[in-house]
């Protein structure tokens, strides 16, 4: 038993001995995201300390950028969401955020929450289709 414990400890230490810093801050599968609308499910996930994970990105690159649709695993459910803010380095004039922000949507494209609490990149205002519903929830643009 003791031996097993020691093995386990050494394994965890080994896992920690290399850097896990994500240098490019890419939003890929299994990355954690912050839900920035006032939906109860997003808030509950944040309170529980288990923010949603990206389990699929709806584009060919499999790296989500501003305005992309992703599939989240959050509170034991699968929810679609739009990315409205990323940590990754952006072009000049496009804001970069300290967290990866998403806004949850239903399967029919309607947003789950009723208000977005953080600023939204102004460049997203050029988006059309379902995204306009999200823009109407926004309070601030940068």
């Amino acid at each position: 038993m003791n031996v097993i414990c020691r093995q386990a400890v050494s394994l965890t230490q080994a896992a920690r001995s290399f850097s896990t810093t994500s240098c490019l801050h890419e939003l890929r599968k299994l990355s954690r995201v912050r839900v920035v609308d006032n939906s109860s499910i997003g808030r509950a996930a944040a309170v529980a300390g288990k923010p949603g994970r990206v389990i699929h990105v709806y584009n060919k690159q499999e790296v989500a950028t501003l305005g992309d649709k992703v599939l989240l695993a959050i509170k034991g459910q699968k929810k679609r969401a739009y990315v409205v803010g990323v940590k990754q380095r952006q072009k000049a004039g496009v804001p970069r955020f300290d967290t990866n922000n998403v806004v949850l949507i239903e399967d029919n494209g309607a947003p789950v929450g009723t208000r977005i609490t953080v600023p939204i990149p102004s460049i997203l205002r050029s988006k059309e289709g379902d995204f306009t519903k999200i823009l109407s929830l926004a309070t601030k643009f940068v």
Binding site: P95, S126, K140, F141, V142
Partner: protein
């Protein structure tokens, strides 16, 4: 006698020299052990994609050019006393020292474009740590423009690609925007509070409490008294506990409070430090523009920007009069 005279005539001076030169060249090129095609090409055409000012001047003043159409260009005298640390005021005018990217002609043209841009938009003096506001054309915004206020955390790039990054916290969300200093969509750059910090880059603000980088959008400009030197803000930032985005103990940060890390971390930081780089004169030489070139570029920049500034002052005065 006649024969000797003949020989003497045959060995008259000029042909003999030419012959010798030709022979020596032949011998060198055939006997040299590291004689390659590339080497010969290099000797014939030295790799230099710029013209020396002296050379240009020499050709311009040569007898072939002496015609009434060639105008005499007045040489600008060094009447300007360039301030000692002017390169810190406008660092983007110094080219990238990497020899792979050096191209004197392009650099010169870029600088001319930068001066022209500076006649259209006032790009004031600012430093990392200054609080700034940038107004930018925004196609989608209702007023067709958007304004962002923040603290400058980085200045980078050279020439027309120079940029700076502003950071602010809006509704509890850290936001950073990078602006191209000479970008066409920039409409106005204001420096609300001109000051310097202890460090050249303030990326550690991402790992500090939000109040260190929170600046209200209606921040009132703090004017600096005329003739005053730029103040240095010696605030020491207290970082959040780890994990951090970078291992800050390995950076020589001056504007950060004691990090309170276990001794192990500091030991490792000492192990990976490179204190000898300070003594490496040639490393410094390779990573910087040499003093003479820097001086000439800075003199040119100072004179151009000063004349732009004076012209702008005159314009303002005339506007006031007409009002």
């Amino acid at each position: 006698m006649a024969l000797l005279a003949h020989v003497a005539r045959g060995c008259s001076r000029i042909p003999k020299l030419q012959l010798e030169a030709a022979l020596s060249v032949r011998f060198q090129s055939t006997l040299s052990h590291n004689d390659t095609k590339a080497r010969r090409a290099r000797e014939l055409r030295p790799r230099r994609n710029y013209l020396l000012n002296d050379e240009v001047e020499q050709h311009r003043k040569s007898l072939l050019q002496q015609s009434p159409e060639v105008e005499e260009i007045p040489v600008q005298q060094a009447e300007a006393n360039v301030p000692r640390d002017f390169r810190h005021v406008m660092p983007e005018f110094l080219p990238d020292p990497n020899p792979l990217y050096r191209d004197r002609v392009t650099e010169k043209l870029e600088r001319m474009d930068m001066y022209r841009r500076r006649t259209c938009i006032d790009i004031p003096e600012f430093y990392v740590g200054s609080i700034m506001a940038v107004t930018m054309a925004d196609h989608h915004a209702p007023g067709k423009q958007s304004r962002f206020v923040g603290i400058c955390i980085q200045r980078s790039g050279t020439g027309l690609r120079a940029d700076f990054t502003l950071r602010n916290v809006i509704d509890g969300q850290g936001v950073e925007v990078r602006f191209d200093m000479y970008g066409a969509s920039l409409q106005k750059i204001e420096v609300l509070k001109l000051e310097q910090r202890l460090d050249d880059e303030l990326f550690y603000l991402r790992d500090a409490a939000q109040e260190y980088s929170t600046i209200p959008f209606d921040f009132e400009p703090v004017p600096l008294p005329k003739g005053a030197t730029v103040p240095v803000n010696s605030t020491k930032v207290k970082l959040n506990p780890r994990p951090w985005l970078e291992r800050w103990e390995r950076h020589e940060l001056k504007g950060v409070e004691d990090l309170n890390l276990p001794e192990k971390k500091y030991r490792r930081a000492r192990q990976v430090a490179k204190p000898w780089e300070r003594w490496d004169l040639m490393k410094r030489q390779r990573e910087s523009i040499n003093e003479d070139e820097e001086e000439s570029i800075m003199k040119e920049t100072y004179m151009e920007t000063e004349s732009t500034r004076r012209a702008r002052g005159r314009q303002k005065a005339s506007l006031k009069k007409t009002r």
